[in-house]
Symmetry: C2
Subunit: 254 residues, 2 copies
Protein backbone atom coordinates (compact mmCIF):
# COMPACT_ATOMS: atom_id res chain seq x y z
CA UNK A 1 0.00 0.00 0.00
CA UNK A 2 1.92 3.01 -1.26
CA UNK A 3 0.39 6.44 -0.91
CA UNK A 4 0.82 9.51 -3.04
CA UNK A 5 1.92 12.98 -2.04
CA UNK A 6 1.79 16.02 -4.33
CA UNK A 7 3.39 19.31 -3.28
CA UNK A 8 1.57 21.87 -5.37
CA UNK A 9 2.48 25.44 -6.25
CA UNK A 10 -0.50 27.81 -6.43
CA UNK A 11 1.43 30.65 -8.04
CA UNK A 12 0.91 34.24 -6.89
CA UNK A 13 -2.79 33.72 -6.17
CA UNK A 14 -4.62 34.61 -9.36
CA UNK A 15 -6.38 31.50 -10.71
CA UNK A 16 -5.21 32.53 -14.18
CA UNK A 17 -1.66 31.76 -13.00
CA UNK A 18 -2.49 28.24 -11.73
CA UNK A 19 -1.19 25.64 -14.19
CA UNK A 20 -3.47 22.83 -15.42
CA UNK A 21 -1.03 20.36 -13.82
CA UNK A 22 -1.53 22.02 -10.40
CA UNK A 23 -5.28 22.15 -10.89
CA UNK A 24 -5.37 18.42 -11.69
CA UNK A 25 -3.21 17.52 -8.71
CA UNK A 26 -5.50 19.46 -6.37
CA UNK A 27 -8.62 17.90 -7.88
CA UNK A 28 -7.23 14.36 -7.51
CA UNK A 29 -6.34 14.70 -3.82
CA UNK A 30 -8.44 13.14 -1.07
CA UNK A 31 -6.88 15.48 1.49
CA UNK A 32 -5.38 18.97 1.26
CA UNK A 33 -2.83 20.31 3.77
CA UNK A 34 -1.67 23.90 3.89
CA UNK A 35 -1.49 27.32 5.44
CA UNK A 36 -5.10 28.48 5.87
CA UNK A 37 -5.08 31.45 3.45
CA UNK A 38 -3.54 29.27 0.72
CA UNK A 39 -6.16 26.55 1.24
CA UNK A 40 -8.84 29.24 0.96
CA UNK A 41 -7.75 29.84 -2.64
CA UNK A 42 -8.46 26.24 -3.65
CA UNK A 43 -11.98 25.29 -4.79
CA UNK A 44 -13.37 22.46 -2.67
CA UNK A 45 -14.17 19.03 -4.10
CA UNK A 46 -16.68 16.53 -2.69
CA UNK A 47 -15.21 14.05 -0.21
CA UNK A 48 -11.98 16.03 0.04
CA UNK A 49 -10.77 16.85 3.56
CA UNK A 50 -8.89 20.05 4.46
CA UNK A 51 -6.22 20.42 7.10
CA UNK A 52 -5.28 24.05 7.69
CA UNK A 53 -2.28 25.05 9.78
CA UNK A 54 -0.45 28.23 10.74
CA UNK A 55 2.21 29.93 8.67
CA UNK A 56 5.16 28.77 10.75
CA UNK A 57 3.98 25.16 11.13
CA UNK A 58 5.79 23.90 8.02
CA UNK A 59 7.44 20.98 9.78
CA UNK A 60 4.30 19.72 11.53
CA UNK A 61 2.32 20.17 8.30
CA UNK A 62 4.89 18.19 6.29
CA UNK A 63 4.90 15.34 8.82
CA UNK A 64 1.09 15.19 9.00
CA UNK A 65 0.75 15.13 5.21
CA UNK A 66 3.49 12.47 4.81
CA UNK A 67 1.94 10.28 7.53
CA UNK A 68 -1.48 10.57 5.89
CA UNK A 69 -0.07 9.61 2.49
CA UNK A 70 1.94 6.74 4.03
CA UNK A 71 -1.37 5.23 5.20
CA UNK A 72 -2.26 4.91 1.52
CA UNK A 73 -3.97 8.25 1.00
CA UNK A 74 -3.76 10.58 -1.97
CA UNK A 75 -2.64 13.82 -0.35
CA UNK A 76 -1.69 17.29 -1.59
CA UNK A 77 0.26 19.95 0.28
CA UNK A 78 -0.47 23.41 -1.12
CA UNK A 79 2.22 26.05 -1.30
CA UNK A 80 2.09 29.67 -2.38
CA UNK A 81 4.13 30.54 -5.48
CA UNK A 82 6.51 27.71 -6.34
CA UNK A 83 6.87 24.97 -3.70
CA UNK A 84 10.61 24.74 -4.40
CA UNK A 85 11.45 28.39 -3.61
CA UNK A 86 11.38 29.19 0.13
CA UNK A 87 8.28 27.04 0.47
CA UNK A 88 7.00 23.55 1.30
CA UNK A 89 9.04 21.24 -0.98
CA UNK A 90 12.23 21.52 1.11
CA UNK A 91 10.27 21.05 4.36
CA UNK A 92 8.72 17.86 2.93
CA UNK A 93 12.13 16.54 1.77
CA UNK A 94 13.61 17.22 5.23
CA UNK A 95 10.93 15.04 6.82
CA UNK A 96 11.26 12.33 4.16
CA UNK A 97 14.94 12.06 5.04
CA UNK A 98 14.35 12.16 8.82
CA UNK A 99 11.23 10.00 8.86
CA UNK A 100 10.39 6.29 8.58
CA UNK A 101 11.12 4.15 5.51
CA UNK A 102 7.44 4.45 4.53
CA UNK A 103 8.01 8.13 3.69
CA UNK A 104 10.71 7.18 1.16
CA UNK A 105 8.38 4.61 -0.44
CA UNK A 106 5.72 7.21 -1.28
CA UNK A 107 5.01 8.42 -4.77
CA UNK A 108 6.12 12.04 -4.51
CA UNK A 109 5.27 14.64 -7.15
CA UNK A 110 6.26 18.29 -6.92
CA UNK A 111 4.20 20.58 -9.14
CA UNK A 112 5.99 23.86 -9.93
CA UNK A 113 4.29 27.24 -9.85
CA UNK A 114 4.97 30.89 -10.65
CA UNK A 115 7.13 32.08 -7.76
CA UNK A 116 6.72 35.65 -6.47
CA UNK A 117 9.85 37.06 -8.07
CA UNK A 118 8.68 36.01 -11.55
CA UNK A 119 5.21 37.46 -10.99
CA UNK A 120 6.53 40.78 -9.67
CA UNK A 121 9.18 41.01 -12.40
CA UNK A 122 6.57 40.43 -15.11
CA UNK A 123 4.41 43.26 -13.77
CA UNK A 124 7.20 45.82 -13.94
CA UNK A 125 9.26 44.81 -17.01
CA UNK A 126 12.29 42.52 -16.85
CA UNK A 127 14.39 43.34 -13.77
CA UNK A 128 15.56 39.69 -13.61
CA UNK A 129 16.61 39.79 -17.27
CA UNK A 130 20.21 39.08 -16.35
CA UNK A 131 22.05 37.14 -13.60
CA UNK A 132 20.24 37.31 -10.26
CA UNK A 133 20.07 35.82 -6.78
CA UNK A 134 17.05 34.79 -4.71
CA UNK A 135 17.69 35.31 -1.01
CA UNK A 136 15.45 35.02 2.05
CA UNK A 137 16.00 37.76 4.62
CA UNK A 138 14.52 35.61 7.37
CA UNK A 139 17.08 34.85 10.06
CA UNK A 140 14.84 32.29 11.73
CA UNK A 141 16.77 29.41 10.16
CA UNK A 142 20.17 30.97 9.44
CA UNK A 143 22.46 33.49 11.11
CA UNK A 144 22.04 37.16 10.21
CA UNK A 145 25.81 37.31 9.59
CA UNK A 146 25.38 34.76 6.78
CA UNK A 147 22.64 36.86 5.19
CA UNK A 148 24.93 39.90 5.28
CA UNK A 149 27.73 37.89 3.73
CA UNK A 150 25.44 36.74 0.91
CA UNK A 151 24.15 40.27 0.27
CA UNK A 152 27.75 41.49 0.06
CA UNK A 153 28.80 38.70 -2.29
CA UNK A 154 25.79 39.02 -4.59
CA UNK A 155 25.65 42.80 -4.86
CA UNK A 156 29.43 43.05 -5.12
CA UNK A 157 29.48 40.68 -8.09
CA UNK A 158 26.69 42.51 -9.94
CA UNK A 159 23.77 40.14 -9.40
CA UNK A 160 20.26 41.58 -9.23
CA UNK A 161 18.67 40.54 -5.90
CA UNK A 162 15.20 39.09 -5.32
CA UNK A 163 14.56 39.35 -1.56
CA UNK A 164 11.96 37.01 -0.05
CA UNK A 165 10.49 37.40 3.47
CA UNK A 166 11.88 40.94 3.89
CA UNK A 167 10.00 41.81 7.08
CA UNK A 168 7.79 40.23 9.72
CA UNK A 169 6.46 41.29 13.10
CA UNK A 170 9.25 39.29 14.75
CA UNK A 171 11.92 40.67 12.37
CA UNK A 172 11.38 44.44 12.17
CA UNK A 173 14.95 45.71 11.54
CA UNK A 174 16.43 43.18 9.09
CA UNK A 175 15.20 44.75 5.86
CA UNK A 176 16.45 48.21 6.83
CA UNK A 177 19.84 46.74 7.69
CA UNK A 178 19.98 44.94 4.33
CA UNK A 179 19.20 48.15 2.45
CA UNK A 180 21.92 50.03 4.37
CA UNK A 181 24.40 47.33 3.46
CA UNK A 182 23.41 47.38 -0.22
CA UNK A 183 23.86 51.18 -0.32
CA UNK A 184 27.59 50.57 0.23
CA UNK A 185 27.76 48.53 -2.99
CA UNK A 186 25.32 50.20 -5.33
CA UNK A 187 24.51 53.72 -6.57
CA UNK A 188 21.76 55.58 -4.70
CA UNK A 189 19.76 55.64 -7.94
CA UNK A 190 19.61 51.83 -8.21
CA UNK A 191 15.98 50.83 -8.92
CA UNK A 192 14.15 48.95 -6.17
CA UNK A 193 10.79 47.25 -6.84
CA UNK A 194 8.28 46.29 -4.14
CA UNK A 195 5.52 43.88 -5.14
CA UNK A 196 2.84 41.95 -3.29
CA UNK A 197 -0.35 39.95 -3.99
CA UNK A 198 0.16 39.95 -7.77
CA UNK A 199 -3.11 39.27 -9.59
CA UNK A 200 -5.21 39.67 -6.46
CA UNK A 201 -7.41 42.59 -5.44
CA UNK A 202 -4.86 43.86 -2.97
CA UNK A 203 -2.03 43.88 -5.54
CA UNK A 204 0.59 46.56 -4.96
CA UNK A 205 3.66 47.21 -7.10
CA UNK A 206 5.88 50.24 -6.69
CA UNK A 207 9.29 51.42 -7.90
CA UNK A 208 11.69 53.55 -5.94
CA UNK A 209 15.44 54.01 -5.60
CA UNK A 210 17.91 52.48 -3.19
CA UNK A 211 18.26 55.92 -1.56
CA UNK A 212 14.51 56.16 -0.92
CA UNK A 213 13.76 52.49 -0.17
CA UNK A 214 11.93 52.20 3.11
CA UNK A 215 11.10 49.12 5.12
CA UNK A 216 7.64 50.50 5.84
CA UNK A 217 6.72 49.66 2.22
CA UNK A 218 7.29 45.94 2.85
CA UNK A 219 5.62 43.20 4.84
CA UNK A 220 5.99 39.41 5.00
CA UNK A 221 4.06 38.98 1.74
CA UNK A 222 6.20 41.50 -0.17
CA UNK A 223 8.86 40.51 -2.66
CA UNK A 224 11.59 43.10 -3.15
CA UNK A 225 13.82 43.29 -6.22
CA UNK A 226 16.99 45.37 -5.91
CA UNK A 227 18.59 46.11 -9.26
CA UNK A 228 22.27 45.96 -10.22
CA UNK A 229 24.35 48.81 -11.64
CA UNK A 230 22.97 47.83 -15.05
CA UNK A 231 19.27 47.93 -14.17
CA UNK A 232 17.38 50.72 -15.96
CA UNK A 233 14.05 52.52 -15.71
CA UNK A 234 12.09 53.53 -18.83
CA UNK A 235 9.61 56.36 -18.32
CA UNK A 236 6.45 56.03 -20.43
CA UNK A 237 4.04 58.93 -20.93
CA UNK A 238 0.71 58.09 -19.31
CA UNK A 239 1.88 54.61 -18.28
CA UNK A 240 3.77 53.10 -15.38
CA UNK A 241 7.55 52.96 -15.83
CA UNK A 242 9.33 49.80 -16.93
CA UNK A 243 12.28 48.42 -14.97
CA UNK A 244 14.66 46.04 -16.73
CA UNK A 245 18.16 44.66 -16.66
CA UNK A 246 19.78 44.49 -20.12
CA UNK A 247 21.17 41.24 -21.44
CA UNK A 248 24.52 42.88 -22.11
CA UNK A 249 26.59 43.25 -18.95
CA UNK A 250 29.55 45.55 -18.58
CA UNK A 251 32.49 44.42 -16.43
CA UNK A 252 31.76 45.10 -12.74
CA UNK A 253 34.30 47.40 -11.16
CA UNK A 254 35.75 46.09 -7.92
Amino acid sequence: MSGHLAVVGLGPGDARCLTPEADEALAAAQALYGYGPYLDRVAGRPNQTRHASDNRQERARAIAALAHAAQGGRVAVVSGGDPGVFAMAAAVCEEIEAGPESFRALDLVIVPGITAMLAVAARIGAPLGHDFCALSLSDNLKAWSLIERRLDAAAGAGFVLALYNPVSRARPWQFGRAIELLRRHLPQSTPVVFGRAIGREEERVSVTTLAAADGATADMATLVIVGSRETRVIARPGKSPLVYTPRVAAEVSA
Copy 2:
Protein backbone atom coordinates in the same frame (compact mmCIF):
# COMPACT_ATOMS: atom_id res chain seq x y z
CA MET B 1 -4.20 53.97 -32.33
CA SER B 2 -2.27 52.16 -29.63
CA GLY B 3 -1.29 48.57 -30.18
CA HIS B 4 -0.84 45.76 -27.71
CA LEU B 5 2.17 43.55 -27.13
CA ALA B 6 2.18 40.48 -24.89
CA VAL B 7 5.43 38.68 -24.07
CA VAL B 8 4.29 35.21 -23.12
CA GLY B 9 6.09 32.47 -21.19
CA LEU B 10 5.32 28.96 -22.46
CA GLY B 11 6.91 27.20 -19.49
CA PRO B 12 9.07 24.11 -20.00
CA GLY B 13 7.03 22.87 -22.94
CA ASP B 14 4.36 20.61 -21.48
CA ALA B 15 0.90 22.10 -22.13
CA ARG B 16 -0.02 21.14 -18.55
CA CYS B 17 2.49 23.79 -17.40
CA LEU B 18 1.03 26.59 -19.55
CA THR B 19 -0.99 28.97 -17.38
CA PRO B 20 -4.53 30.00 -18.39
CA GLU B 21 -3.27 33.60 -18.57
CA ALA B 22 -0.65 32.59 -21.15
CA ASP B 23 -3.17 30.53 -23.09
CA GLU B 24 -5.58 33.50 -23.26
CA ALA B 25 -2.84 35.90 -24.35
CA LEU B 26 -1.83 33.55 -27.18
CA ALA B 27 -5.45 33.05 -28.28
CA ALA B 28 -6.11 36.81 -28.36
CA ALA B 29 -3.11 37.66 -30.55
CA GLN B 30 -3.45 38.46 -34.25
CA ALA B 31 0.24 37.74 -34.79
CA LEU B 32 2.74 35.49 -33.02
CA TYR B 33 6.50 36.08 -33.10
CA GLY B 34 9.07 33.65 -31.78
CA TYR B 35 11.83 31.13 -32.18
CA GLY B 36 10.49 28.45 -34.53
CA PRO B 37 10.47 25.47 -32.11
CA TYR B 38 8.62 27.57 -29.50
CA LEU B 39 6.00 28.67 -32.03
CA ASP B 40 5.52 25.01 -32.96
CA ARG B 41 4.25 24.37 -29.43
CA VAL B 42 1.40 26.87 -29.79
CA ALA B 43 -1.92 25.71 -31.30
CA GLY B 44 -2.85 27.82 -34.29
CA ARG B 45 -5.92 30.06 -34.35
CA PRO B 46 -7.81 31.21 -37.44
CA ASN B 47 -6.61 34.54 -38.89
CA GLN B 48 -3.51 34.50 -36.73
CA THR B 49 -0.18 35.04 -38.50
CA ARG B 50 3.11 33.43 -37.42
CA HIS B 51 6.56 34.94 -37.71
CA ALA B 52 9.29 32.45 -36.87
CA SER B 53 12.91 33.48 -36.42
CA ASP B 54 16.18 31.89 -35.41
CA ASN B 55 17.36 31.38 -31.85
CA ARG B 56 19.89 34.20 -31.87
CA GLN B 57 17.62 36.75 -33.56
CA GLU B 58 16.16 38.13 -30.31
CA ARG B 59 16.81 41.74 -31.20
CA ALA B 60 15.35 41.59 -34.71
CA ARG B 61 12.36 39.61 -33.39
CA ALA B 62 11.70 42.18 -30.65
CA ILE B 63 11.87 45.08 -33.10
CA ALA B 64 9.59 43.36 -35.62
CA ALA B 65 7.00 42.54 -32.96
CA LEU B 66 7.11 46.06 -31.48
CA ALA B 67 6.77 47.67 -34.91
CA HIS B 68 3.83 45.41 -35.74
CA ALA B 69 2.09 46.29 -32.45
CA ALA B 70 2.86 50.00 -32.92
CA GLN B 71 0.82 49.85 -36.14
CA GLY B 72 -2.17 48.99 -33.97
CA GLY B 73 -1.88 45.21 -33.98
CA ARG B 74 -2.44 42.78 -31.16
CA VAL B 75 0.85 40.90 -31.09
CA ALA B 76 2.38 38.18 -28.88
CA VAL B 77 6.04 37.26 -28.59
CA VAL B 78 6.44 33.70 -27.32
CA SER B 79 9.28 32.76 -25.03
CA GLY B 80 10.32 29.42 -23.58
CA GLY B 81 10.06 29.11 -19.79
CA ASP B 82 9.58 32.52 -18.20
CA PRO B 83 10.09 35.52 -20.51
CA GLY B 84 11.83 37.44 -17.70
CA VAL B 85 14.63 34.91 -17.10
CA PHE B 86 17.28 34.90 -19.84
CA ALA B 87 14.55 35.25 -22.42
CA MET B 88 12.56 37.74 -24.51
CA ALA B 89 11.26 40.28 -21.96
CA ALA B 90 14.63 42.02 -21.52
CA ALA B 91 15.21 42.07 -25.30
CA VAL B 92 11.81 43.73 -25.77
CA CYS B 93 12.52 46.30 -23.03
CA GLU B 94 15.88 47.12 -24.63
CA GLU B 95 14.16 47.96 -27.92
CA ILE B 96 11.38 49.91 -26.20
CA GLU B 97 14.04 52.12 -24.65
CA ALA B 98 16.07 52.46 -27.86
CA GLY B 99 13.11 52.77 -30.23
CA PRO B 100 10.59 55.43 -31.26
CA GLU B 101 8.07 57.03 -28.88
CA SER B 102 5.37 54.76 -30.33
CA PHE B 103 7.04 51.76 -28.65
CA ARG B 104 6.65 53.41 -25.23
CA ALA B 105 2.96 54.15 -25.95
CA LEU B 106 2.12 50.45 -26.45
CA ASP B 107 0.11 48.41 -24.00
CA LEU B 108 2.73 45.95 -22.82
CA VAL B 109 1.86 42.82 -20.85
CA ILE B 110 4.42 40.27 -19.71
CA VAL B 111 2.92 36.88 -18.86
CA PRO B 112 5.14 34.86 -16.53
CA GLY B 113 5.84 31.16 -16.99
CA ILE B 114 7.56 28.25 -15.26
CA THR B 115 11.25 28.87 -15.91
CA ALA B 116 13.57 25.88 -16.47
CA MET B 117 15.20 25.94 -13.03
CA LEU B 118 11.82 25.58 -11.31
CA ALA B 119 10.76 22.74 -13.62
CA VAL B 120 14.03 20.83 -13.16
CA ALA B 121 14.07 21.43 -9.39
CA ALA B 122 10.50 20.12 -9.06
CA ARG B 123 11.42 16.90 -10.89
CA ILE B 124 14.28 16.05 -8.54
CA GLY B 125 13.14 17.36 -5.13
CA ALA B 126 13.95 20.83 -3.80
CA PRO B 127 17.54 21.76 -4.69
CA LEU B 128 16.54 25.46 -4.79
CA GLY B 129 14.97 25.22 -1.33
CA HIS B 130 17.38 27.76 0.07
CA ASP B 131 19.23 30.84 -1.26
CA PHE B 132 20.29 30.44 -4.90
CA CYS B 133 21.60 32.28 -7.95
CA ALA B 134 20.53 32.05 -11.57
CA LEU B 135 23.46 32.63 -13.90
CA SER B 136 23.84 32.35 -17.67
CA LEU B 137 27.13 30.78 -18.77
CA SER B 138 26.87 32.41 -22.19
CA ASP B 139 29.71 34.83 -22.80
CA ASN B 140 28.11 36.20 -25.94
CA LEU B 141 26.90 39.31 -24.10
CA LYS B 142 29.28 39.52 -21.15
CA ALA B 143 32.97 38.84 -20.52
CA TRP B 144 33.97 35.35 -19.39
CA SER B 145 35.96 36.97 -16.56
CA LEU B 146 32.69 38.40 -15.17
CA ILE B 147 31.09 34.95 -15.26
CA GLU B 148 34.04 33.52 -13.32
CA ARG B 149 33.79 36.33 -10.80
CA ARG B 150 30.09 35.62 -10.28
CA LEU B 151 30.65 31.87 -9.93
CA ASP B 152 33.33 32.58 -7.30
CA ALA B 153 31.13 35.02 -5.39
CA ALA B 154 28.02 32.83 -5.43
CA ALA B 155 29.65 29.49 -4.61
CA GLY B 156 31.91 31.10 -2.02
CA ALA B 157 28.93 32.58 -0.17
CA GLY B 158 26.99 29.30 -0.15
CA PHE B 159 24.37 29.96 -2.83
CA VAL B 160 23.05 27.03 -4.85
CA LEU B 161 23.62 27.74 -8.57
CA ALA B 162 21.17 27.38 -11.44
CA LEU B 163 23.22 27.56 -14.63
CA TYR B 164 21.42 28.52 -17.85
CA ASN B 165 22.89 28.14 -21.36
CA PRO B 166 25.73 25.92 -20.16
CA VAL B 167 27.00 24.86 -23.58
CA SER B 168 26.51 25.60 -27.25
CA ARG B 169 28.32 24.69 -30.45
CA ALA B 170 30.05 28.08 -30.37
CA ARG B 171 30.90 27.79 -26.64
CA PRO B 172 32.30 24.29 -26.11
CA TRP B 173 34.72 24.86 -23.18
CA GLN B 174 32.85 27.26 -20.88
CA PHE B 175 30.87 24.71 -18.88
CA GLY B 176 33.94 22.58 -18.17
CA ARG B 177 35.83 25.68 -17.01
CA ALA B 178 32.94 26.63 -14.72
CA ILE B 179 32.89 23.15 -13.15
CA GLU B 180 36.67 23.28 -12.59
CA LEU B 181 36.29 26.63 -10.86
CA LEU B 182 33.43 25.39 -8.66
CA ARG B 183 35.53 22.38 -7.58
CA ARG B 184 37.83 24.84 -5.82
CA HIS B 185 34.93 26.05 -3.63
CA LEU B 186 32.82 22.97 -3.05
CA PRO B 187 33.30 19.34 -1.94
CA GLN B 188 33.72 16.77 -4.71
CA SER B 189 30.52 15.11 -3.47
CA THR B 190 28.36 18.22 -4.08
CA PRO B 191 25.23 17.12 -5.97
CA VAL B 192 24.87 18.34 -9.56
CA VAL B 193 21.58 17.99 -11.46
CA PHE B 194 21.23 18.08 -15.25
CA GLY B 195 17.73 18.58 -16.65
CA ARG B 196 16.28 19.22 -20.08
CA ALA B 197 12.93 19.21 -21.90
CA ILE B 198 10.90 18.74 -18.71
CA GLY B 199 7.44 17.35 -19.47
CA ARG B 200 8.30 16.58 -23.08
CA GLU B 201 9.01 13.20 -24.65
CA GLU B 202 12.74 13.86 -24.73
CA GLU B 203 12.88 14.76 -21.01
CA ARG B 204 16.18 13.88 -19.32
CA VAL B 205 17.05 14.45 -15.67
CA SER B 206 20.15 13.06 -14.03
CA VAL B 207 22.06 13.51 -10.79
CA THR B 208 25.80 13.27 -10.38
CA THR B 209 28.54 14.80 -8.23
CA LEU B 210 30.76 17.77 -8.84
CA ALA B 211 33.68 15.33 -9.19
CA ALA B 212 31.92 13.40 -11.96
CA ALA B 213 30.09 16.30 -13.68
CA ASP B 214 30.87 16.25 -17.39
CA GLY B 215 30.08 18.85 -20.01
CA ALA B 216 29.09 16.10 -22.44
CA THR B 217 25.88 15.66 -20.42
CA ALA B 218 24.78 19.22 -21.24
CA ASP B 219 23.64 21.09 -24.32
CA MET B 220 22.09 24.52 -24.95
CA ALA B 221 18.67 23.31 -23.71
CA THR B 222 20.06 21.86 -20.47
CA LEU B 223 19.64 23.54 -17.11
CA VAL B 224 22.29 22.61 -14.55
CA ILE B 225 21.84 22.96 -10.80
CA VAL B 226 25.00 22.84 -8.68
CA GLY B 227 24.25 22.38 -4.99
CA SER B 228 25.83 24.12 -2.02
CA ARG B 229 27.64 22.46 0.89
CA GLU B 230 24.20 21.99 2.44
CA THR B 231 22.54 20.20 -0.49
CA ARG B 232 21.67 16.58 0.24
CA VAL B 233 20.69 13.43 -1.67
CA ILE B 234 18.07 11.01 -0.33
CA ALA B 235 18.27 7.47 -1.71
CA ARG B 236 14.87 5.79 -2.11
CA PRO B 237 14.53 2.03 -2.67
CA GLY B 238 13.08 1.42 -6.13
CA LYS B 239 12.71 5.13 -6.84
CA SER B 240 14.90 7.92 -8.18
CA PRO B 241 16.86 9.83 -5.52
CA LEU B 242 15.70 13.18 -4.19
CA VAL B 243 18.03 16.18 -4.12
CA TYR B 244 17.21 19.04 -1.76
CA THR B 245 18.70 21.97 0.11
CA PRO B 246 17.45 22.25 3.71
CA ARG B 247 15.87 25.43 4.95
CA VAL B 248 18.32 25.59 7.85
CA ALA B 249 21.73 26.90 6.81
CA ALA B 250 24.90 26.48 8.80
CA GLU B 251 27.44 29.30 8.76
CA VAL B 252 29.65 29.07 5.66
CA SER B 253 33.30 28.63 6.48
CA ALA B 254 35.57 31.05 4.64
